[in-house]
């Protein structure tokens, strides 16, 4: 049975960063209203809501988010809460595709800075407890993956310097992109020198400027069936493929510790579903918890050859850092600044990624807007992860219904 592709008709998000004075409810309210307003529909048109957050239970003692949202909207429609925005989004797609719902809201929020002193401990909830007991930190696995990668591909000497430089340039590129994103947590440029100095200071291969920050924020979108989308919008963005995959929670137990199998599987399934080739994808939002993950994603998702992503990045960044050029094709990655500069309020992050691709495909990204062959891109992809590659989600979005 051929399922009809649902469409995104409106998006909204708050600025990411520290929202000292605001409750999570007020953040999701802002993002949700923005998404609704951009479509011309009202909350009463919603058939259901899908929400996401990782830690509200821990950070804000909110354990039944659906009730708060019901009270906020004064609605009694079905609502479900998941962990990541992508998970909520995928479930929403299933709801619409099954024909059960016509119009749904997908919303994500996170308030990580409310528990600044213990949020890094809380992040360990996304790892297996034994790694935590052995002293693992949210950053440690990234460094172990990097070391494993370097060892596997025998990268040393001058090549290794280039790899480290390529990683630094990812951060510089993402910060540069964020300068054009007024909603980003850090909309300021940084230099390669900043990145390298931070690494030296911590005596580690990856430093402060290699990792995404801790953020507050919310994001939302309105998803509709193709018929409803056509009623409400002249320029809907279609979800051509949406897929997920899983891997062992214990990083040391995984068969491959130089990449994420889940990402590869999810991408494979999403491409099949969308009936597009990877070379058709023009823009992508990657889950760059660290600069390393942006590099690894290029390989896991199939854009770069195994063991070669750093070289593709290094070569692409020799002249400009605006896009990657891989085998003669242009790929724009993390146009909103990525998790690194846009921010990473876990439950809302995927929403901001979809927000960016939606805006770019519609030609509404203002100064961030990129063009391919003289027009806004046609096809984009979003990659979101839960944990350290434990769950992977891929959404392929396009201007055409497919």
């Amino acid at each position: 049975m051929k399922l009809q592709n649902p469409a995104i008709i409106g998006v909204g998000r708050t600025k990411f960063g520290e929202h000292y004075e605001r409750d999570p409810e007020s953040l999701i309210e802002e993002a949700g209203l923005q998404a609704l307003d951009s479509t011309g529909i009202t909350r009463k048109d919603l058939d259901a809501c899908y929400l996401s957050d990782y830690f509200l239970q821990v950070t804000n003692k909110i354990g039944l988010e659906e009730g708060f949202f019901s009270e906020l909207l004064e609605l009694h429609v079905p609502m479900e809460k998941t962990r990541s925005f992508s998970s909520a989004f995928l479930n929403a797609c299933h709801g619409v595709q099954s024909g059960k719902y016509d119009i749904v809201l997908v919303g994500g929020m996170e308030k990580m800075t409310d528990r600044w002193d213990k949020i890094r401990d809380d992040l360990m909830l996304l790892e297996d407890p034994w790694s935590y007991y052995a002293g693992c930190t949210p950053e440690a696995n990234h460094e172990l993956l990097l070391k494993g990668y370097i060892k596997k591909y025998g990268i040393s000497g001058e090549q290794l310097d280039k790899l480290y430089l390529a990683l630094a340039k990812i951060s510089v590129k993402n910060h540069q992109n964020a300068t054009k994103n007024p909603l980003a947590q850090y909309n300021r440029a940084i230099t390669v020198d900043n990145v390298l100095k931070a690494r030296n200071k911590s005596c580690k291969p990856l430093g402060l400027f290699d990792f995404a920050p801790i953020s507050d924020g919310a994001s939302a979108l309105i998803l509709a069936s193709p018929e409803a989308a056509k009623r409400c919008s002249d320029t809907p963005v279609y979800v051509l493929g949406s897929s997920s995959a899983t891997d062992y929670i214990t990083f040391p137990s995984r068969e491959d510790r130089t990449g994420f199998i889940a990402n590869t599987s999810a991408m494979h399934a999403a491409l099949q579903q969308a009936k597009v080739d990877i070379s058709d994808i023009q823009i992508a939002e990657f889950y760059d918890q660290s600069t390393l993950l942006e590099m690894i994603s290029l390989e896991d998702l199939g854009f770069s050859k195994r063991g070669k992503a750093w070289l593709d990045i290094y070569k692409s960044c020799e002249e400009s850092c605006g896009f990657y050029e891989i085998e003669g094709r242009k790929l724009f990655v993390n146009l909103n600044g990525g998790l690194k500069a846009d921010g990473n309020p876990l439950g809302a992050t995927g929403g901001a990624q979809i927000f960016e691709v939606f805006k770019q495909l519609r030609g509404e990204a203002d100064s961030r807007q990129v063009e391919v062959n003289g027009e806004p891109p046609k096809l984009g992809c979003v990659s979101e992860l839960e944990g350290f590659g434990t769950k992977a989600y891929i959404h392929i979005l396009g201007r055409n219904q497919g």
Binding site: S131, A134, T137, K151
Partner: protein, 503 residues
């Protein structure tokens, strides 16, 4: 707040590094698993229990952690990585311990690919009222201070008529503080009396080669148990898997008990352990007596702070039995009086002492009486004794008491180790005994006299057997190794206090 059920489950697996192995394809897992992912249903219910505790791992990749999560903050910076066992059949996360990293100045490249040994340690900091979490996902380099040694069960060759020592082990940490003519053992921040007791017991098992399931009782003497209520001995029994274990309920057929009598808490139990294995109806082949302390002392500028010049850290364990004995017990004598020369009240962190009165009316009176009475009972002259090992709270007392008894330097110097480890409280005279047994020839007589404040002394006479020589080959981690090892690390007073205070 700790969760008691979680602590039980985590320590049951993590302290011993329990795993499972598929009997069909050989695939291995850390932690128990009811079936093999490869063989599926065929393997259901057939998975074999394995432990990685005595195995050597390989640190495949590692990284520096300088901003740990909250419970690890007191550890400072440390190395974290992935450890592979059995050529990569299983991989576990691990923390390298026993490394002091100052200002994150450390060459990381020297760790990857190194062989490592699992160590039983505290897991991280918790509240003062919480259960103390432990784990063996802490590792040290196999080519460092603590060598990898296999535990191999040897079939007993000979039955003896009198009970005696079958095997023994000593554990002191790799850190030392050196002041004047004295070096003292300093625990790493994740060590305490419990971890020292386990390590000493592990060494005794390795040396004795006895089947751990045949150990019927374990005694742990200590005055620095981090718990007021909760035995060290139960932890030792679990980690070292003493007594037969029922897989169904995880309960071991072993009796475990803690004893306390200042520095003689362990030596007092030597006779109990010997009697137990000698008593024909008990079916107790072996009994283990451990003395372990993270010897407490107030800081120097506080009342009782004089002790801070002498206290050490470590443990010793002796296994008693009737088979393959290396030193038979010839006789014993103990004496007691109510002489409170050193004490620690409940809820107080540090002991107090009677100053000058810890000498004549306490230490000397009891040690002299116990030694003289034993020698009288056994009809021994000073010349009949090859080695004399007294309790050693400092360098002066044991030398003076030995001379008063008429012993010559060559009789007492070998067993005098306080200048190398400090006063290890319950482990003090037993470590001296171990140092003697490390080098003694067959048919030599060793007289041990302990002293515990409060006060009392236990005197023992041991006669070594011919088997002492052959068993010696099994132990690399000798007292001498722990004194002369090139990897010893010396710390200053501030670091010593921090490490000793622990997590």
């Amino acid at each position: 707040m700790s969760s008691e059920p979680i602590e039980r489950r985590v320590s049951y697996i993590g302290d011993r590094l329990k795993g499972s192995q598929c009997p069909i394809c050989g695939k291995e897992y850390f932690r128990g698993k009811n079936y093999c992912g490869k063989c599926g249903r065929k393997s259901f219910g057939k998975m074999k229990d394995i432990d990685f505790f005595y195995d050597q791992g390989n640190l495949e990749v590692s990284t520096l952690v300088s901003q740990p999560t909250n419970r690890f903050v007191k550890m400072g910076s440390y190395i974290y990585g992935i450890v592979a066992f059995h050529n990569g059949k299983t991989r576990v996360p691990g923390r390298l311990t026993d490394i002091l990293i100052e200002d994150c100045k450390i060459d990381l490249s020297c760790f990857d690919g190194k062989n490592v040994v699992p160590r039983f340690r505290r897991r991280y900091s918790v509240g003062e009222s919480d259960i103390i979490p432990t784990i063996s996902l802490a590792f040290t380099l196999a080519d460092g201070y603590y060598p990898h040694q296999k535990y191999e069960i040897k079939k007993p060759m000979r039955e003896y008529e009198t009970p005696g020592i079958v095997g023994y082990g000593v554990y002191t940490s790799k850190f030392r503080i050196k002041e004047g003519n004295m070096e003292r053992s300093v625990p790493f921040i994740d060590e305490d009396a419990v971890t020292a007791a386990v390590e000493a017991g592990r060494m005794a098992l390795i040396h004795s080669g006895v089947d751990r399931s045949l150990i019927g009782k374990v005694y742990v003497g200590s005055e620095s148990n981090p718990y007021a209520v909760n035995p060290i001995a139960s932890k030792v029994a679990q980690v070292l898997k003493l007594g037969k274990e029922e897989k169904m309920d995880g309960v071991q057929s072993v009796d475990a008990i803690d004893t306390e009598f200042a520095c003689k808490a362990a030596t007092s139990m030597f006779k109990d352990a010997s009697s137990l294995v000698y008593y024909p109806k008990t079916n107790t082949a072996y009994a283990m007596a451990i003395g372990a302390d993270n010897a407490q002392a107030a800081p120097r500028n506080e009342l009782g702070g004089e002790l801070d010049h002498f206290v050490g850290f470590g443990g010793s364990a002796f296994i008693f039995g009737m088979q393959d004995v290396i030193a038979e017990i010839e006789g014993w004598y103990s004496c007691t009086s109510d002489t409170p020369d050193f004490w620690r009240r409940d809820l107080q962190p540090y002991p107090r002492h009677g100053g000058r009165f810890t000498g004549e009316p306490a230490y000397f009176k009891h040690v002299l009486k116990a030694c003289r009475t034993l020698m009288e009972q056994l009809n021994l002259q000073v010349e009949d004794v090859d080695y004399f090992v007294p309790h050693q709270p400092n360098i002066g007392f044991p030398v003076k008491v030995a001379r008063q008894l008429g012993f010559k330097e060559e009789q007492y110097e070998l067993g005098l180790k306080v200048a190398k480890f400090g006063n290890v409280y319950s482990g003090s005279s037993p470590i001296g005994l171990a140092a003697v047994l490390d080098v003694a020839k067959p048919d030599e007589r060793v007289v041990l006299v302990s002293y515990g404040s409060g006060a009392g002394s236990d005197a023992y006479s041991f006669i070594t057997t011919s088997q002492i020589v052959e068993k010696r080959q099994r132990q690399k981690f000798t007292v001498r190794h722990q004194i002369e090892n090139e990897n010893l690390e010396y710390v200053n007073y501030t670091t010593y206090r921090r490490l000793k205070h622990g997590l």
